[in-house]
Subunit: 410 residues, 2 copies
């Protein structure tokens, strides 16, 4: 039986996270299933941004002594419990791309450059591979690709220094078993850097419990930090005294205000800081992370699975007749997204949905990607979004020429 | 004769830049001589930030197709005329530190790594040296230091790949002859990267006219972009097709939305982009740069020299009796700052001034540093600031114990 609106509303009545929705500013008439690209705006984030805007005007240079300077460490400590890390293990800094570069340099130096190969994975968001290539090109390492679906052991050897892996695949939503992968890669003497872009804030990441040593991530998706909000870097505490990272900026110096001639890395995560960061970019993220402190991550995960399953159940009867393939992984291997593939019309269906105010996104070839953010989506929202999808597909309105024109979306 | 307030007001009456002051939000009762650390807030920057804040709320992911994505190139083109560059030669991106790293990799690759030494200068802001060290450490180059005041030729050889130099020294305000230095270094087959942190927006930088090929800078000082606003990178158009920069992010890819497996650099300055940037950090900077389009840079320079000379003339009679040394360079070699050294009491004098609302800063050993920003300082402001300095020194109030405690300021 297809779920009814009443079914969805019953689930909302039982939802312990339902009150969080009031903390977000959501445009009227929009059903936003793209929080996995850019998260919605918490009201507190808006207020924090305004306060920092005024602090620039009123305190000018004094703002750096009123909380701006220590934001990378302070926000890192707010983020830590959301990903299973401890105080002093996370720094909010730069971007995911730059943090990957730092870790590649840091780890290979700690290995005394004894292993020449850096592996990144094929079939995933290619940005991690690009920066791994750049690192290898610059620092004299060899870049290798782990093909999608390949057996890990076939590509591991005593020549592999580091493997860069995403916990959740951006296209398919496939969730990796972090503990198992860590065990297998560490057993070969290699290190893993986990990309948490599609898992931090989407589910209860357990870095400590899974034996992870290194990770990076971004905060503008599920963590609601704002467009292009800073990235983060995690290094387990017992791996924090191993020397330099290559992007050795003055904020990462042991004594940044001594203006010493030579670089000396700060202790702990501070060494991963680079130059002067944007106080305006950190302010809304800090407010968002404070909101996240109140979230029960087990409840978040349960609601994420309920929302994704509700959306699929509302549409399952459509799939065969309309050539749609549901590639959403089983719950235990699922991130917080639904993937529906329609090779011929996927792009146009997404455009027609956007026109109706249902925001998802499209990735070649044929993938309609819908992200589910438990803090600001109700079960009723998901039911209504599925109804819109049904109408677009059953009416054939996606065949309108205006929905065929390709424009690029990040 | 010491200038009088009437003298200062007469200069204000003749000031063609006087109207710009109304475009800035300045705290009541503050005389801000630290715009060389963090520039004041233009009203338009505040409005632009608010608009982007609302765009995040209302357009969500759609904002990336409404101007956010192309901001690095668009703002670069706004900045270009202020530093003597052409359209397509400047990119606003990341930070000065990271842009230096990119250029070091880019240039040494174009030289086929034939020269093993990177030189940075001693006696200047050490951040450039730190990142040069990090690059050398990671990429296998040798880092050398050009001692302050050393003859350039003694340190140049066919082993030197790149020299990193500041156009204006952050401590002394000493302005280098960019054309002459370019000629001498290029004659030895080496390249120069110019750090414009204390010259962009402080004077009429002429990159094209001086034969400069590479430069980096920041926008949060004289250019009023906001706390930690993004940096910029300049590569002369004829040097833009020489391959990779090491921080190869997906926004710098030739086809970022094709999600190709392999990195391929975009043409032109876009290859210097890395990952997703903060839309909130770019918004106020764009508004500030638009304001700067209206500034006559020759008038700016003339006013800068007039303001710095006025401040010194107001105080010259104090210096000998109070052990103060005026290290401000002669006009032709001066940035837009005044340097006064009092080894024993410099720190306390600056603190006493801050308490009175006259904001300067202090750098060891003994340096009181005052920045002069012609867009929002009047001659009368400078006269009043000098009067406050006189009162602090003549009264001895800086001897109060509360002004002796050291706190760190960026």
């Amino acid at each position: 039986m297809r779920p009814t609106l009443t079914d969805a509303q019953t689930l909302d009545d039982q939802d312990t996270l339902a009150d969080f929705k009031a903390h977000f500013a959501l445009p009227d008439g929009m059903l936003y299933l793209d929080g996995n690209s850019l998260g919605a705006q918490p009201n507190a984030a808006r207020e924090a941004l305004d306060a920092t805007r005024d602090q620039w005007r009123d305190s000018l240079i004094g703002g750096w002594n009123q909380g701006w300077f220590d934001a990378p460490e302070r926000l890192g400590n707010l983020l830590a419990p959301l990903i299973g890390a401890s105080e002093g293990e996370v720094l909010v800094s730069d971007t995911i791309t730059l943090n990957l570069f730092k870790l590649l340099g840091y780890i290979t130096e700690s290995q005394e450059r004894a292993r020449p190969i850096i592996l990144s994975e094929g079939g995933n968001f290619p940005a991690d591979g690009y920066i791994a290539e750049g690192f290898c090109h610059s620092a004299g390492f060899e870049h290798g690709v782990l093909p999608e679906g390949a057996a890990l052991e076939e590509h591991l050897s005593d020549q592999v220094a580091v493997v860069v892996l995403s916990q959740v695949n951006y296209r398919t939503g496939q969730l990796r078993d972090m503990a198992e992968v860590n065990r297998r890669i560490h057993a070969k003497g290699a290190e893993v850097i986990w990309d948490l872009a599609h898992s931090a804030g989407a589910l209860a990441v357990d870095l400590a419990g899974s034996g992870a040593r290194y990770a990076v991530g971004c905060t503008y998706k599920y963590l609601n930090g704002g467009p292009g909000a800073p990235g983060f870097v995690y290094v387990r505490s017992d791996r924090q005294q191993a020397g330099w990272q290559p992007l050795s900026g003055w904020h990462g110096h042991a004594k940044p205000f001594a203006f010493d001639a030579d670089y000396a890395p700060a202790s702990g995560m501070t060494r991963f800081r680079t130059g002067t960061h944007s106080a305006l970019a950190y302010a809304p993220l800090e407010a968002s992370l404070k909101l996240w402190q109140q979230v029960d991550m087990a409840a978040l995960r349960a609601k994420s699975l309920a929302l994704t399953d509700l959306f699929r159940a509302c549409l399952a009867d459509l799939f065969e007749a309309h050539g749609i393939e549901d590639i959403t992984p089983a719950p235990a291997q699922r991130g917080s997204q639904v993937g529906l593939v329609q090779r011929e019309h996927g792009y146009a269906i997404v455009q027609a949905l956007i026109k109706r105010g249902v925001i998802g996104d499209y990735r070649e070839p044929g993938l309609m990607r819908f992200g589910f953010t438990p803090l600001y989506l109700s079960h009723a929202d998901v039911w209504h979004a599925a109804e819109q999808f049904r109408e677009v597909v059953e009416s054939g309105e996606y065949r309108d020429p205006r929905f065929q024109t390709r424009t690029e979306v990040t």
